[in-house]
Each structure stands twice: as C-alpha cells, then as structure tokens.
C-alpha cells in the first residue's frame, strides 16, 4: 500500500488541470509547486545532512536571474571589458540557472562547511544578502529595482515534431510537475543510496562518520551542490512563469517560507516538503475570504507554532507513526474482541 501511494498521488496531480477550471487555483498550484521544489532542495541539506541554510533563497534567486539573463541577453561593462551576450533559448537558461546556482552552492559549501552550525547559518544569510545587494545595485546587468521584465516563456523542442512554447498555465503546471518529479526521484535515489547514508551519518555523528572512512567535506559539498542546483531550477521556473523578477526575490521571507514548509512537513522525509508546501501554499487561499491579510499572517504563524509544538518532528513522521500504530494495534484489538480468527505472526 505504501508503494502504491506515490502512484495514486501522481495520478491525482496529473489529472488536476482536466477537472480544475479555476485559473487562479491553477496559478497557486504552480507557484506552490515551484516553492515545493525549492523546499525539497532545502530538505536535502537541512533534513539529511543537518545543515541549516538560511540563505537558501540565494540559490533560488541566482537560478532565476541567471536563467532570465541568459534568455534576455545583456551588454555590460566589467572592469573595462565589454561583455555582450545575445539572447539564448529559455530552456538553455534553465540549465545555465541550475549550473550557476550549483557552482555557487559549491563555493558556499567549500567555504562554510569548514565552519559548521551557527557559523554556517550566518554565512548563508550573509550570502543571500550580498546576492540581493548585487541584484539591486548592478543596474546595468539586472536593471536593479526596475526589475527584469519580459522574460520569455520556455520553448520545448521535440525532434521531428517541431517546438512548443509554454504560453498557458496548464503547460506550466505540467512543466513544474515534471521538474518536481525529477527532483523527487533524484533526492529519493540519493538518500536511499550509499551517498545518502553518508549524509545521514554526518548529521547523526560526524566524528563517528569520519572514523568509518566517510569524507565529511566531500558529502556535505555534494549535498550543497545538488541542493543549490535544484533550487536554481526552481528559480528559473519562477522567473519564466512570472516573466518578471526583481531583487525582492532574495528576501529572507522566502527562505523562511521554505524552512517552514520543510520543518512542518517533516525534515528528513521525502514527502515532508510536499505536505508542508501544500499546507502553507494553500493556506492564504483558504483564509482569504475570511481574514484580512494581517490576520492571515497571525493565523499562519499560529498554525506553524502549533504544528511544531504538537508534532516536533513534522506532520509526515507523525502520520507514519500513527499508521504504524494503527496497523500493529489492529490484530490485538481483534483478539481482544474475541475474534474467532486470530491473526498469525505479526
């Protein structure tokens, strides 16, 4: 049953645009999906290696800007040299966004994993702030507060079939779903493998991990690169979907949103960021008819505190525990009830 569950969800997600007519809800689904991908990438670092990256939005923003600039082209002056880039297709932008975000993840990983814990948190926050200031002040490249506008949509080329430009929301929904699925598969394969075991070992007991031959820095940097690249992909999706990005994309609140999604859903679980993402992505929509924006924020915060307080490990681990308890208690209940056919074995 547990194996069938992801397949059932996949069918549900695949059919949503067929029965959902409301374009606004579809829009929320797309942006929520993009943030879920970013949260899944954060979960790889926070949930599996135990490193809290409070500047995770930097990778998201770098992916968005790199992708947008690759697609729009630019003409800037760097230390007296003219750097001219002609526009490239948006799909290439997606890859460039991932690669540049991944490279910055590598740099941050190498630099800051020498300093762990609170220092890592500080380095990542500072990094996000620096990238925001660059986006704000390097007006020649990023247009600063005026924002990068008219970012073209992706055009997917199919050999022999021509190309297809993603103009409408349904197309973007499926693209986000596909990227999300790839991210999910990548993370699940990683954490279920020797690499994932090394990451979990580092989180649990770094000294012991290194004593059995695990190269601490190597696996932390690997996690940072994969995580940053994935966040970069989410950023690129965001830029090409909204068609406009400004330096506010680097705001701390976006990192906080990702952290909330991961923590409430259940860090270190595959489904955690998805469950947390769906809840906190749709909460504003559900609350909108009933509460003013300020009240919404209070309820939002209240719910988060309640979840963390009642379910410190998050929703998914709690659900798993309940289901496990329910399954093991059932035979005992049957016996107590004097069932004529007691269960054998477990």
């Amino acid at each position: 049953m547990k194996r069938a569950l992801p397949a059932v969800w996949l069918v549900v997600f695949l059919t949503i645009p067929l029965w959902l007519q409301d374009q606004y809800i579809l829009h929320i689904l797309i942006t929520t999906g993009i943030f879920i991908i970013a949260s899944m990438s954060l979960n790889l670092l926070l949930g599996y290696t135990g490193q809290l990256s409070l500047g995770h939005v930097a990778f998201f923003g770098i992916g968005a800007y790199a992708s947008a600039l690759t697609t729009l082209g630019f003409d800037v002056d760097v230390f007296g040299f003219r750097v001219l880039h002609q526009p490239w297709p948006a799909v290439i932008g997606l890859f460039v966004g991932m690669v540049i975000a991944g490279l910055s993840g590598y740099a941050i990983g190498r630099l800051s994993f020498k300093v762990r814990g609170a220092y890592f948190v500080i380095v990542t926050i500072s990094f996000a702030e620096v990238t925001r200031l660059i986006a704000l002040n390097w007006v020649e490249l990023t247009q600063g507060p005026l924002a990068l506008t008219n970012i073209p949509p992706y055009t997917l080329g199919f050999p022999g079939l021509g190309s297809y430009t993603l103009w409408n929301k349904t197309a973007y929904y499926y693209l986000v779903l596909a990227v999300g699925l790839i991210a999910y598969v990548v993370i699940s394969r990683l954490v279920g493998s020797r690499i994932g075991r090394a990451m979990i070992a580092l989180k649990e007991n770094e000294t012991l991990a290194s004593s059995v031959g695990i190269d601490v820095t190597r696996y932390l940097v690997l996690a940072a690169v994969v995580s940053a690249g994935m966040a970069g992909a989410a950023g690129s999706l965001y830029a090409h979907y909204l068609k406009i990005i400004d330096p506010d994309i680097f705001l701390f609140i976006y990192t906080v949103t990702m952290v909330i999604m991961v923590i409430t859903g259940g860090k270190g679980t595959l489904a955690g960021p998805i469950v947390g993402g769906v809840i906190f992505g749709f909460l504003p929509v559900i609350l909108r008819p009933f509460a003013a924006p300020a009240v919404q924020w209070i309820l939002y915060g209240g719910l988060m505190i309640a979840i963390v307080f009642v379910l410190p490990q998050g929703i998914v681990p709690a659900l798993e525990r309940w289901i496990a308890n329910w399954l093991t208690r059932k035979p005992a209940d049957a016996l107590l009830a004097g069932s004529s056919k007691p269960h054998e074995g477990q």
């Binding site: 020797r194 070992a201 695990i214």
Partner: protein
Amino acid sequence: MPTSGAAEEVVLSIAHVAVHFGGLVALSDLNFTVCEGEIVGLIGPNGAGKTTAFNVFTGFLKPTAGEVRYRNTLLNGLKPHEITSLGLVRTFQRTSIFQNNTVFENVLIGLHRLGRSTLWDTLLALPREKIAEGELADKAREILRIVGLERRAADVAATLPYGEQRLLGMALALAAQPSMLLLDEPVSGMNASESAKVMKLVETIRAAGVTILLVEHDMPMVMQVSDRIVVLNYGRIIAEGPPAVIQQDPQVIRAYLGEGKKRA
C-alpha cells in the same frame, strides 16, 4: 601468547610523539611499535594519555611533535577518513553509534569504504547500483552474525541495551574493513558475560588477521588477550613487555595497580 606465525613486520610505528595542550603535557616522547597480527594492550591510570594517543594515531588530534606511521605511510596531517581508508580503524571510549538508525543501517553506513557505486549509478538506478547494494547488505548481515547482533538487525540502535550498543560500535569499526583495529575500552561498563563475549570477539577478529591495539582498564581482560603491553603514566611510557613481566614490574604496580594491592 606468541605472535601469529609470520615475520615480525612492524605495521604501526610511533616515534617521539608528543602532545601539549598549552602548558599541559598530555603525551611526551611516545615511542613504540605494533607488529603484524599482534594484540598490544595500552594501559595506564586515568589521564595517562591513552585516548589522546588514539586520537593522534587516527587523525583526530595533531601531535605537537613526532611521527606516526602506518605500513610506512606517514599519518601526520592526514584526515581521519584518510587514515581509515588505509585500514587503521578505531572504536570510541564512549558509545558511538548512529542512534536513530537501525542496527542494520548502522553497519551499512560502516561499510561505506566497500561501496563501489558512483553518483551516476545511483541517480540513474543502473544495475550496478543494485548489485553493489546487494553485496553491501550481504556483507552487513555477515558482520552482524560475527558480532552476534543478527537478531537485532531491525531494531533502532538507541533501543539496544548498553552491552549490545558497544558491540554495535565494534561492528561499525569492523565494517570499515580494518587491517588494524584500535579498541578504546571495549568492555568498560560491561558485566562479566558481556565482557567474555567481547573477548571472544577480539580473538575472532585477530584470527581473521587483524592487528589490534587495545586500551582497557579491565586488567584480567588485558592480561588475557594481549601479546604485549605498553604502560603509560603521565604521558610517558614507563614499561613495555609481555603480560607476565608487566604484572611483576614494580614501577607498574606502584603507578597503576596500587602498592600492595593486586587486582590482576
């Protein structure tokens, strides 16, 4: 107990190793060797520098002076995982296991060095990945059988009783494929039957060709399993020799066992 057969080839050599913490001398001018196949006991009162010595040998602590060589490779400056990959593996004095993982997962983590699959094998779920994982699982089961924890495979490590947690710590070290094992107080806090189990395990490990350096406070155990004993006190070696000689050494009796009182 004679050293097992082969020529006495030195595998671990410690030359003039000193460790100073500020003004405190934790180790001073430590010199000794361990030969292939030997079990050497490293003993001394609390604070004599035994664990400090282990930390130096395994790269967790940089010596202030001196050289540590394992099979002719200079270990100074190597990181712990690099030293482990040479086959020099340690256990810890305090219970060191991955508490939140199952016993089986613990051993799988310990088998990290044996894993052969690459990042691409994993991401693309190539057949090679499946084969490699299957081999690791077989190996993990074998190690659990050797240490006698096969029935506990599915239990979360933190739920094991103390003695079994210590055994799991040894299983982790064994999983790292040691050619030499440094055991830091393997039987501390154990009852007699648990100690006996560990002693048997130490013999099994040695029979498999692994050289052993043992730090232990349990004198009967050290005397029984060691071929040779090195005695530390205040960071320096005060005696070295076979157990029978060490037991009679007046300096050792005075410094370590206490005057006029024999425990062993």
